[in-house]
């Protein structure tokens, strides 16, 4: 049919028009590009931005395809073009995966340097925003980065693994900006530190707006995450008193029993609900229900029976509640609502939008009550 042929030709024309224009960019040959995988930013005494650019090349002839360039400038793009003065490759941002801000910038506020990342469509929204307590320059010059092509890729893998493992709260650029621009929920970013010439995540930074004001340890961040997000297969290790279980603990080891026991719960799933019970006095009630299975206990008891199992769940509840109260208190001390209590408050007050200043006045005085209920669903193949 005449018409069908015309439509077919139209599709062929369309496809070629989608493909042919890309050939016009023959100047961006991949062998001539320096592809940035990470930027590190510090600020010196004269308020000038000191950038560390980690890039790699796709040239098959070179063995060490990664290099680090230091340059200065007053803006993100100046740093990049100054870095380009020291490299024969055209530096492009398309595969930027990690941004690392040193303490000088992290304390003051990172937002001014993030504008171009949001504005420039070429840069991905899925890069990780991270900070460090040592200068970014030092972190990025760590020489041990496993089998990754360079330190930038390694940092990305490091954070990505921790996020997928549900160890930390994800701080992808999109999520960072979402929380930064949301009144009543502050972002959290991983703090990269250097241990034996190797970068690692040791803590998670609490941001007040865009500036770093405090840190949660990796143990604490579990409880923060419990309130913020849902676990799919989380892992929790707790230290419990042995005393309440006196009657149940099997006497395998004789009398040298310790007064602390450790348990590890994995496949942990949770459902947390923040309820604002009193708008005027700002009292919150948080219901946290957790279920999971026990994979390790340092003292053995018969979990097949109801009484010890219930007792164990009860003790876990108490412990988790104590930890949750501690993390909320810590956040209140630095006045950064990383849990999103402010969002709940704003949702309940109709008509007027909460401002950042208002919530900073209110947040330190909120009262939070926790109802934790744990359910041990399974406990392995021994009783």
């Amino acid at each position: 049919m005449q018409n069908n042929r015309k439509i077919t030709l139209l599709i062929v024309g369309l496809l070629s028009m989608m493909i042919i224009p890309s050939c016009s960019h023959s100047k961006d040959v991949i062998e001539k590009l320096g592809v940035v995988s990470a930027y590190g930013f510090d600020q010196n005494e004269e308020q000038v931005l000191e950038g560390t650019t980690v890039l790699y090349q796709f040239n098959p002839d070179i063995t060490n395809a990664s290099q680090i360039i230091h340059s200065t400038g007053s803006t993100f793009n100046m740093v990049r073009s100054n870095a380009n003065k020291k490299s024969g490759y055209k530096i492009v941002n398309g595969k930027l995966q990690t941004l690392l801000f040193g303490p000088t910038i992290a304390k003051k506020g990172v937002f001014p340097y993030l504008d171009t990342i949001e504005r420039d469509a070429a840069i991905s929204d899925m890069l990780y925003v991270t900070i460090s307590e040592e200068p970014a320059r030092d972190i990025l010059s760590a020489s041990n980065y496993e089998e990754a092509p360079n330190i930038g890729v390694y940092l990305n893998r490091l954070v990505d693994t921790a996020v997928l493992d549900e160890k930390i709260v994800s701080s992808k650029f999109h999520e960072f900006m979402r929380d930064y621009l949301q009144v009543g929920r502050e972002p959290l970013v991983p703090i990269i530190s250097i241990k034996q010439n190797k970068a690692a995540i040791e803590e998670v930074g609490i941001m007040q707006g865009d500036s770093h004001v405090g840190s949660f340890s990796m143990k604490e961040i579990f409880f923060v995450r419990l309130l913020r997000e849902e676990f799919n297969e989380g892992r929790l290790d707790l230290e419990l008193e042995t005393k309440p279980f006196q009657d149940y603990i099997k006497e395998y080891q004789g009398d040298n029993r310790e007064d602390k026991m450790f348990i590890v719960i994995d496949q942990l799933q949770n459902n947390s609900k923040i309820n604002l019970t009193n708008v005027d006095h700002l009292t919150y009630e948080v219901d946290v229900s957790i279920h999971g299975r026990i994979v390790e206990m340092s003292q053995r008891m018969n979990l097949d029976k109801a009484a010890p199992l219930r007792k164990l769940e009860e003790e876990i509840d108490k412990k988790i509640k104590k930890n949750l109260e501690a993390v909320v208190k810590k956040a209140q001390q630095v006045n950064a609502d990383v849990f999103g209590f402010g969002v709940k408050y704003n949702n309940r007050t109709r008509g007027e939008e909460l401002t950042r200043e208002q919530w900073q006045d209110l947040f330190p005085n909120i009262e939070v009550d926790f109802n934790v209920s744990t359910e041990i669903k399974r406990f392995g193949i021994v009783q």
Partner: protein, 371 residues
């Protein structure tokens, strides 16, 4: 009856094509920026604004079909000539021609903006418009059946893109939808007005009607197409509001395209680039059918060959897009075209209803006299 259209039966189309053709005609460049534009007006209650626009849309479609049914196989120009006489009818159709031409340009320049912002900042506008216009010209010269056929093929070529929103949906924060019902009626109405640019395009029905075979099913299928569009718009707005926090959504010029920015596959690091390239599939039916509508109406007003008008439209558009080479101009222009859309798309059909009622009654009387 002046200037009756006699379309031979073998050139006619089935009415069921309306579902896809009207839908693809409505979805175009507007939808990429729509969530923000409505959000700026009515905030989290954008849904209500869209639903208000939806009700208006369904009523307008009912009006159009009512007016079209009062006549036997006339298009907009034929009807206007019937009501207002030859010359005044021509004048109104001429306004419609200008309106369609402006819509044609607005789709073109907005798409060029996408390409500049997302893929090739240094590609010259004339090259992009040359590519697009040559395709449009090729399709439209093939006649209305090729234009409609292309719409249907391109619809199935682009509808899978809704699947791209699955990953953004996993990032949705349900707190972003609360508190609801905060916007004032005034804000809701202006949100509904802003929705109009996204959902115009249904004017095609005025011109496609004479080409349809089973005319008794036209109403059913065109209403179905409208529901399809509204559902898509609601879905995209729902995802955008949940995906971005409120202040963030106000900053994004094209929330839909920015949402797709987070998608990455092992073989496609950045899927938004593919999406913007494929957006061509979404806008081509718009361009093809706007071009057809413009040149069709021009032929009816001025006489002459349709093909010449098609070439004229494309060449004029090629020249005209030079005046819209900055974001400010494009936004300014699009804004005004959207406002014109409210008048030409929504108000005119409702104004024509009383005339059609009068005409029907007169026709019935004459019929009674004759018998």
């Amino acid at each position: 009856m002046p200037e009756n259209l006699n379309i031979p039966d073998h050139k006619k189309l089935k009415a069921i094509y309306l579902v896809i053709v009207l839908h693809t005609m409505q979805i175009g460049v507007g939808i990429a920026g729509h969530p923000r534009v409505v959000f700026l007006e009515s905030g989290r209650d954008s849904f209500i604004s869209i639903l208000i626009a939806a009700i208006a849309l369904h009523i307008v479609i009912a009006c159009i079909v009512y007016v079209l049914r009062s006549f036997d196989g006339q298009d907009l120009h034929g009807i206007l000539a019937q009501f207002f006489g030859k010359w005044f009818g021509k004048l109104i159709t001429f306004l419609f021609i200008i309106y369609f031409f402006l819509l044609f340009i607005s789709v073109l320049v907005n798409y060029i903006e996408f390409v500049h912002a997302f893929i090739f900042p240094d590609m010259s506008s004339w090259f992009i418009s040359l590519c697009l216009l040559s395709l449009v010209l090729y399709a439209v010269l093939g006649g209305v059946r090729v234009a409609v056929g292309a719409c249907i093929v391109f619809f199935f070529g682009s509808v899978w893109m809704f699947g791209l929103l699955i990953e953004p949906i996993t990032y949705i924060q349900y707190d972003n939808y609360l508190p609801m019902f905060e916007a004032s009626p005034r804000e809701l109405m202006s949100g509904a007005l802003k929705t109009s640019y996204t959902i115009i395009g249904f004017e095609l029905l005025w011109f496609l009607y004479p080409y349809l075979k089973d005319k008794n099913k036209v109403h059913r299928y065109s209403q179905l197409a409208m529901s399809l569009t509204i559902l898509s718009v609601l879905f995209i707005t729902f995802v955008s509001i949940g995906f971005y926090s409120n202040n963030q959504l106000e900053d994004k010029i094209w929330p839909l395209l920015s949402t797709i920015k987070i998608i990455s596959f092992p073989m496609f690091e950045r899927f938004d680039i593919v999406t913007v390239a494929l957006w061509m599939i979404i806008i081509l039916p718009n361009l093809i059918l706007f071009c057809w509508m413009t040149s069709m109406s021009a032929k009816r007003v001025f006489g002459g060959k349709e093909n010449y008008y098609m070439i004229t439209v494309c060449s004029l558009a090629f020249i005209a897009h030079y005046f819209f080479d900055s974001r400010y101009n494009v936004n300014f222009f699009t804004n005004y075209v959207g406002q014109a859309g409210v008048i030409f798309g929504f108000v005119v059909p409702i104004l024509l209803v009383p005339f059609a009622m009068y005409y029907r009654r007169k026709g019935a009387k004459q019929h009674a006299k004759q018998s």
